[in-house]
């Protein structure tokens, strides 16, 4: 069976499973909307007391919030479901199930819980961008949207690499749940403007864990049509992180003992 066919079957299965727990789906979507609403409220409250923060206006900050939220949603739709279950499957021995299938186990467990219905959560933020453009005259470089989408996907790839990179540590360590929460907490800070960082924090947030690039790069392209430098770093980082994560996975999977199965 080809990967395309296998993934489409997995998506099909996942959609069916999601509809089995419909109330959970609706509640999750509502919570995402509320979460985004709080982010907007947070920004509005701060900007009711200051005009700009690190050179960013209230509308620009809200656009950054939308882009950051979109990146988080894309990661959660495609990868987070599968990756978050990896630790448990290693602990219980359920990882055997992935190893025995005629698919690469890393690919299989990564995409085993794709949930396309989660994309509905993007509707609210996109409506808000439309509001910002039409009502508050926020100027965007709309012809660059395909480039913006590509750069946004690079951010998702980095999230994936960090997520899987942490999860595969469960082949070595008994408990990695806190490490997973830590990487997630770190990468969820992408809604802050890149210009606020200075000194070691700037080095950390751009070159070590590129949390400052994940949402800022696409947002700056949308706003100014430029900052190719950040995009190139993001591209290089995402390629390197994928290669490194693959290496980490292939090395650590050899330590898997199938203990409880």
């Amino acid at each position: 069976m080809s990967y395309r066919k296998a993934i489409s079957r997995l998506i099909n299965l996942s959609v069916r499973q999601t509809f089995e727990h419909r109330s959970n789906l609706y509640l999750n979507l509502t919570l995402q909307v509320i979460n985004y609403g709080f982010l907007i409220l947070f920004i509005e409250i701060i900007f009711s007391r200051v005009n700009t923060v690190a050179g960013w206006s209230v509308d620009e900050m809200q656009l950054l919030g939308v882009v950051s939220q979109s990146s988080a949603v894309l990661y959660s739709v495609f990868f987070s479901g599968g990756i978050s279950r990896l630790q448990e499957s290693v602990r219980t021995g359920g990882f055997d199930y992935f190893l025995l299938k005629p698919l690469d186990a890393q690919v299989h467990c990564s995409v085993s819980r794709i949930n396309p219905l989660g994309l509905i959560a993007l509707i609210g933020p996109l409506i808000w961008v439309a509001f910002l453009v039409s009502q508050r005259n926020l100027h965007l470089s709309l012809p660059l949207i395909p480039v913006v989408f590509f750069i946004l996907c690079l951010g998702v790839v980095i999230r994936y690499s960090f997520g899987l990179g942490t999860a595969v540590l469960s082949f070595l360590l008994t408990k990695v749940s806190a490490l997973q929460s830590l990487q997630s907490a770190l990468l969820n800070q992408s809604h802050f403007p890149i210009s606020m960082y200075s000194g070691w924090m700037r080095t950390f947030a751009i070159y070590m864990v590129p949390v400052a690039l994940i949402a800022n790069s696409p947002t700056l392209i949308l706003l100014e049509g430029g900052t190719g430098y950040y995009s190139i770093i993001l591209l290089l980082y995402s390629v390197l992180s994928v290669v490194f994560t693959r290496y980490l996975y292939t090395t650590l999977v050899k330590k898997y003992t199938s203990a409880s199965s």
């Binding site: 959970n24 709080f38 947070f42 701060i46 007391r49 360590l173 008994t174």
Partner: protein, 262 residues
């Protein structure tokens, strides 16, 4: 009481075994606050004070939030809902001590541990930034008392929330919701004085404020003695309400518990 003390000791030992996990749990709280501090630092470039807070006062506020958040935010609900869903609760019901008392011992042990770990980092920074925190003033004494009451509020309401699992198979979405709402409504992200009047008024009457931002404000000396005592009375009120609610949900829940999954 002996069983509860032993539970307390066991949890402390278990945390010591998974040290790296415990340190990472602490960093999970520290990381968002660190980014928030960098953000606020930039915001203070153009203004002297925001919402009545100077740069140092706001930093001290967030450091205290880091220090207390792990202790006060509602986590006990995960334990209870996990035990109910998996059927593990059955084994506790057969033991010669109360399940809620057992949960309270676990809660206190986890909280003490969190205070210890976060204290190592936060207290020296606070001592350097604002030495006045460490003078024995009425605010410090009232703050310690309000901290204790805040932990009781967190425990009672968190446990009530966990008891919802008696009626619903999966409350993970509700728990996610709680994870979104509680930090915001309790003042972990923004001090109460930043909120618009209508929202501030609403938050003043809800228990969330009294589980985090109130003890933080008392400890940082932002509330005068009279208002602090007034706040303590409201905290006692919420502890009583929470305890009654917990007794009610626990006794009703036990009756519908089917030991499913055990």
């Amino acid at each position: 009481m002996k069983a509860e003390i032993q539970t307390f000791k066991n949890v402390i030992r278990e945390t010591a075994i998974y040290r790296s996990n415990t340190v990472a749990s602490f960093l999970v709280i520290l990381v968002p606050i660190l980014f928030l501090l960098v953000f606020w630092n930039s915001a203070f470039d153009t203004v002297e004070s925001i919402g009545g807070y100077s740069r140092n006062q706001l930093f001290a506020y967030y450091l205290l939030v880091v220090f207390l958040q792990d202790v006060l935010l509602i986590r006990v609900n995960y334990e209870i809902s996990g035990d109910v869903r998996s059927g593990r609760l059955s084994s506790y019901l057969l033991r010669p001590f109360g399940y809620i008392r057992h949960c309270f011992s676990v809660f206190m042990a986890v909280s003490s541990n969190a205070l210890l770990y976060t204290g190592f980092i936060v207290i020296p920074i606070l001592a350097l930034m604002s030495p006045e925190f460490f003078r024995l003033t009425p605010a410090l004494c009232i703050g310690a008392l309000s901290l204790l009451l805040a932990s009781l509020i967190s425990f009672c309401f968190g446990s009530c929330f966990g008891c919802i699992s008696f009626w619903f198979e999966d409350i993970s979405s509700l728990q996610t919701g709680l994870g979104i709402f509680v930090p915001i409504l309790s003042g972990a992200f923004l001090p109460m004085s930043f909120f618009p009047g209508w929202l501030k008024g609403l938050l003043e009457v809800l228990p969330f404020r009294y589980s985090l931002s109130f003890p933080v404000e008392v400890l940082s000396g932002r509330i005068d003695t009279f208002a602090s005592l007034n706040g303590l009375i409201i905290q006692v009120f919420w502890v009583i309400v929470g305890a009654i609610l917990l007794m009610f949900t626990w006794s009703k829940g036990k009756r519908v518990y089917t030991a499913y999954g055990s």
